[in-house]
Subunit: 434 residues, 2 copies
């Protein structure tokens, strides 16, 4: 098959067959399809679209490019969770062990920070010693012993996705719903989960800036996952302001531990419970979301979620003492307040802007090869809707050097809005069932 014909077919609005998409993906990995040909095809696909059968076929081809885990020694149901990315979203860290404590295993392949958003792997690596790279056998062992394991994508899992993602990143072809769907699901299918709960973020801090676009992505994800044989529920959740009170790796890990201790900010705790309940229902633990939520609340109250967290961290080579003593996490040398410009109600904390401030402080990357500073980030003092007094801190910026804070202070200040009345905030905007 000539790659140029496959490019022209998509360019002219045609529909590629499963065999053609398989040849495209395999040919790309084997070097028969050049980088410049694949990028032209990706641009044609972004502008012309892929229909449902093409999206399923592309997902399957990317999945087939790597290993598919069976995890047969894990006897309980396995449910995965995926978030499309946001600011301050540390939910995976507390959610995975909490769900495991309730009898459903959570095999999770997570990512690194991307653009203004944080990444679960970077947050876990803030724990001294935590290794995100495990081979398939070790992954299965940890899953069996701790019930939850969060690892990075290895070359064995959907290598086509890794290469395509890197190419899309530098060719302006990221923002395509079918390409995003295939990228997410090819990895999710590889772990052999029995079901998937999706947290599709909408708002300033999300990749989908509004509800309509988020709904489009959520529907496509649920439809394609079902067509690929994976039971899936999606929640569309608000990402106009950062989730919880922290942005940055160690800061967020600390907040996730607080949630497992039964405290932590209301929204982080609530999202953990809502997503967890969906996972327990998908995992067959109960048919009622209400019962599922009660199970999770009990696992928070009796410390069994925290215990699973410590077990998972230890199994990954990390210092499990952080579970009871979060002060062991790295702490920033510089911590500078962002004062409120006037008295009133905090009406907005712009997640997009604060995400980039956090990156600027050292918590994220501007190039793939950059290292992150685990201690850097933002501590937020108020949730949107709360009253603030002129001069009191709205947030603290944490970094290794004062110059980094100074460079980001104006942007951080401008990210907050103080007014008369805040819009009513809803955490879960919509729910789409499998």
């Amino acid at each position: 098959m000539n790659p140029v014909e496959l490019i022209i077919k998509k360019r002219d609005g045609g529909r590629l067959s499963g065999a053609e998409l398989e040849e495209l993906v395999q040919g790309y990995l084997a070097g028969r399809v050049a980088e410049y040909q694949m990028s032209a095809w990706l641009m044609a696909a972004l502008l012309r679209g892929l229909d449902e059968s093409e999206t399923v076929a592309l997902t399957r081809a990317m999945l087939a490019s790597g290993r598919q885990l069976k995890l047969e020694r894990v006897r309980v149901r396995k449910i995965d969770k995926h978030s499309t990315g946001g600011v301050g979203d540390k939910v995976s860290l507390c959610l995975a062990p909490l769900v495991a404590a309730c009898g459903v295993a959570v095999p999770m392949i997570a990512g690194r920070g991307l653009g203004h958003t944080g990444g679960t792997l970077d947050k876990l690596e803030a724990i001294p010693g935590y290794r995100v790279r495990l081979d398939a056998a070790a992954f299965e062992r940890v899953l069996k012993s701790a019930g939850a394991s969060i690892i990075g994508q290895s070359n064995a899992i959907a290598p086509a996705d890794r290469r395509l993602y890197a190419l899309r990143d530098v060719t302006g072809t990221v923002e395509s719903v079918p390409l995003i769907v295939a990228s997410i699901l090819s990895k999710k299918l590889a772990t052999g989960s029995d079901g998937l709960v999706l947290d599709v973020k909408a708002g300033r801090g999300a990749f989908m800036p509004n509800l309509a676009r988020a709904r489009e992505l959520a529907r496509a994800l649920v439809r394609t996952a079902r067509n690929a044989g994976l039971r899936t529920t999606a929640l569309i959740t608000d990402m106009s302001a950062p989730l919880g009170r922290t942005v940055g790796n160690a800061l967020e890990t600390r907040e996730a531990i607080e949630v497992l201790h039964g405290s932590g900010p209301a929204d982080t705790r609530e999202l953990t419970l809502v997503l967890g309940a969906e996972m327990l229902v998908l995992g067959g633990r109960t048919r009622s979301l209400r019962t599922a939520r009660a199970l999770l609340e009990r696992a928070l109250a009796d410390g069994s979620g925290l215990e699973r967290f410590a077990r998972m961290v230890r199994a990954h080579g990390g210092d499990a003492r952080v579970a009871d003593d979060p002060a062991r996490l790295p702490r920033a040398r510089v911590r500078v307040p962002v004062p409120a410009a006037r008295t009133g109600t905090l009406t907005a904390a712009d997640a997009w802007e604060l995400g980039w401030v956090s990156v600027g402080l050292g918590a994220g990357r501007t190039r793939a090869e950059d290292a992150v500073d685990p201690a850097a980030g933002i501590e937020l003092c108020h949730a949107v809707g709360e009253r603030v007094e002129r001069g009191e801190p709205l947030a603290f910026l944490c970094a290794s050097k004062r110059s980094l804070v100074e460079r980001n202070l104006a942007r951080a200040t401008a990210a907050f809005r103080i007014g008369a009345r805040a819009p009513r905030a809803r955490l879960v905007l919509e729910r789409l069932e499998r």
Copy 2:
């Protein structure tokens, strides 16, 4: 400037500034814009389009990537001709010396065969010794002495076009009117001509399959050329059947020489006169197309066009004796008739199919690095509209080996249609003035 931003801007339907297009082209040549980024941009440009100001700016940027000839020592007006490519189109070979004989210089940068179409350079190289590579000084000397010179594109002329063209060829991004316009005009502007006559082909054997598409291209070429400061006239001419009676390099060169001898097929002669008259008018030789045509007819009758041809060939190192003795051109070892399947009127000779048959016989390339067989090709025995008797030859297939002929005989036979009445054939379909 970040290449990804330029890709995203075009992808989302934005308009690139002159500075942005210049940076894109320069960055590509300098390696700051990768091949896979340029191909993604090209696909976005093909699908989203470029407006007139972008097309002019892209043309200028590609022109500025190389050297611009002045040809100041050539004192007469210089008029160039460009054909968008067809099957059997050998007009440049007789047209350039004929126009030169009438006092207008013709500096022409020609191309090689592409796809199913032939290339002027390949035809000239059928003449023993003819060198298509001359440096700028030699080009100017030949122009001054013979009045016409046809050379290949060197690395000095619009190198961005060379690289972009090669990339477009393998990424499905050839068929974009603004990209085609910029490619053609960047080269044409580089020779410092005073005017340009365009032969835009329409029909089965052309890159523009119908009149509407050809008109779109012709209009864009004339508009952009004028905006770039080049006086231009365009003719849209029929390319449903091959031009003249030969397809293939030496065969076509022979036919062009026949035209210069005052004979040759009616359509080849007519197109030469029509295009030549436009060139003489653009070149200020006369204001009347009728007078211009009379001048050209005289130059055919008195042999001065043929004499210029011989001078040009000699100046390029070629065997000028072919002008009076075309039998010196290479001749194929195998020559096999294609018999008429029935008696009737020849209603069609499919230029697209016959172009590919000619390539299959060895006259063209399927890969850029292939060599062509100068002697291979097709001799047509009848023009469309003529009566044919069952069993008589419609054409002869010429090749170096019988197996090549056998492989192409069925396709050649199927390319001809014999029916009751042929559609009225018009050579010049439309004329667009500067």
